[in-house]
Symmetry: C2
Subunit: 367 residues, 2 copies
Amino acid sequence: MPTRPPAEPGMTLEQVVTPALIVDLGALEHNIAMLARRVAGNPHGVRLTPHAKAHKCVEIARMQMAAGASRMCCQNVAEAEAMVAGGIKSILLSNEIVGQDKARRLAALAHMARIGVCVDHPDQADALSAAASSEGVTLDVLVEIDIGMGRCGVAPGADAVTLAKYIASKPGLHFAGLQAYHGAAQHLRKPAERKVAIARAAEMARSTAELLRAAGLPCEVIAGAGTGTYENELGSGVYNELQCGSYAFMDADYGRNETATPFANALFILTTIISAAVPGRAVCDAGLKATSLESGLPVVFGEDGVTYIKATDEHGQLEIASNAKIALGHRLRLIPGHCDPTVNLHDWLVATRNGKVEAVWHVARGW
Amino acid sequence: MPTRPPAEPGMTLEQVVTPALIVDLGALEHNIAMLARRVAGNPHGVRLTPHAKAHKCVEIARMQMAAGASRMCCQNVAEAEAMVAGGIKSILLSNEIVGQDKARRLAALAHMARIGVCVDHPDQADALSAAASSEGVTLDVLVEIDIGMGRCGVAPGADAVTLAKYIASKPGLHFAGLQAYHGAAQHLRKPAERKVAIARAAEMARSTAELLRAAGLPCEVIAGAGTGTYENELGSGVYNELQCGSYAFMDADYGRNETATPFANALFILTTIISAAVPGRAVCDAGLKATSLESGLPVVFGEDGVTYIKATDEHGQLEIASNAKIALGHRLRLIPGHCDPTVNLHDWLVATRNGKVEAVWHVARGW
């Protein structure tokens, strides 16, 4: 019942069933090596813990670990299960989970890998402690603090200390530090805005860690950062784990940040022109079931005079300049607006090099 | 490798793994019966051909066929394959397909079911004719005309006749009529606007059909209509197939049309509050990987004082009024902004009645 893979190793791009997600292996390897080199040997001992929510793909996680990552982040239990099944030995679930069922699934993974998870309420800790005790394992627990994102997390300071003490008192749980990710800062367009946001976040994390230390609860981990801001966390002297995810693939929205990025576009939607009945326009087979729109339309890659102007369920509408030749059956590559939810629309990543399919990788969707 | 089903028959809603898509069977049965009754015995002999792109689910297609539908519409080859494998005996692929591979897959289905498909270019007809000839089958072919949507389709009138003649000349193809769907009209908010748009579309379809008749190519089928406009096509005296899809589920965007709809909300995202660390707000586990945003945010169902205000990848942010009690672990039902792409985010539909899971149905994603 899984969907049919759109390609097989050895195929050319012309043979791939469209729409399909294409990974340019050269660009992916470049991106993984580039960030690994940037983080390696930094003076603060900061570690790279890439986020699997961007790719949901064991093969890419293995490449990131081989390049020196210290563990993988996941955002839900199904991702963590897929990573552990694929041989990843240390995972941080950088999110809250609720309920006995998910706590049990997570604790069961701790027989095979070191497992961390975030908490922002004593009830979550209770469920995790019960599950860990029942499985006879220990879970590393970070207290998530809200350092400006306005989503999950307790307030920095005293509230975080109270919760950390509670965690430290529970069997099966080990208080390990702070989760202090500032997602809202990743796409602030100007470097100066991102710098200010992360400086504020780092100060809140630093002062909270100091209170924790005073309470006898040192933070082994202060985690956060994404592809848009990691240079700031890396230099902060506060953060020691960087949870970048999108850097592996990049996308059109990160392309709009006003910074020269060292990362190349490695993820594309391969699409076919299925209608060219009217001059000046064409329709491709990648609509909003193939590319996520919430961070903007996809951008046509490497074709002059072709603009993606509208998406409906199964159709992408293109404007064609008079000098552009786009015939029925022509194939285009689109850069998705936002890589993470676009990957989540597909079951397969088609890994290519020089126009040839090298591998077809499964995407671990679901919860 | 398919994702794990979020539920099993017999479970309560409290036991379903969230986020999950929940179908209220009472509402679904009501919607299917309501439109079937409305179309049955109409004076123009109009047939209902519900669109499977809304649900991608064989079990629901069977319910629609049992209620009197004359065939199912699909929007891509994978949907058609799933429907035929599930026993549906007549399919219209209401879209263009391009390339030998997809043409062959479609023609292969014609051994097991009657298969129709749309065309707006001679090259598509060539590929379909080659595939049908090679399989020894006949495909019904509709010429798609652009009656105001500006997407696929040749111009009404002479261009359509030229293409129909070409189709009629090709081995393995049977010219069957016109596809004249006006998707852009479905969400015009005012009934009068929708009426005007469909009256114009119907007139273009009627005059094109007349030219075809004069050329010796009578239209057995003039197909179109959706949940927003079907009353207009039904009364037009021109259309004879109605391709409504969303009526089975409904969604928040159709709820914003200014018409009292006879259809009930049958599709919900079941979600759990995973963070409630700060008074006045909460976070649920249904973000933009669980609910499609392109037609607006989901709407909280049946809970006063709880508003879904923002979606990120794995999180839905909620505003909680001071009188609302929303504790960690509480479960909510969300009405998706747009049902079709939300279904496409999930692999499973959890069919429920009176708070109990009756069945878990597979969603035929992919292409």
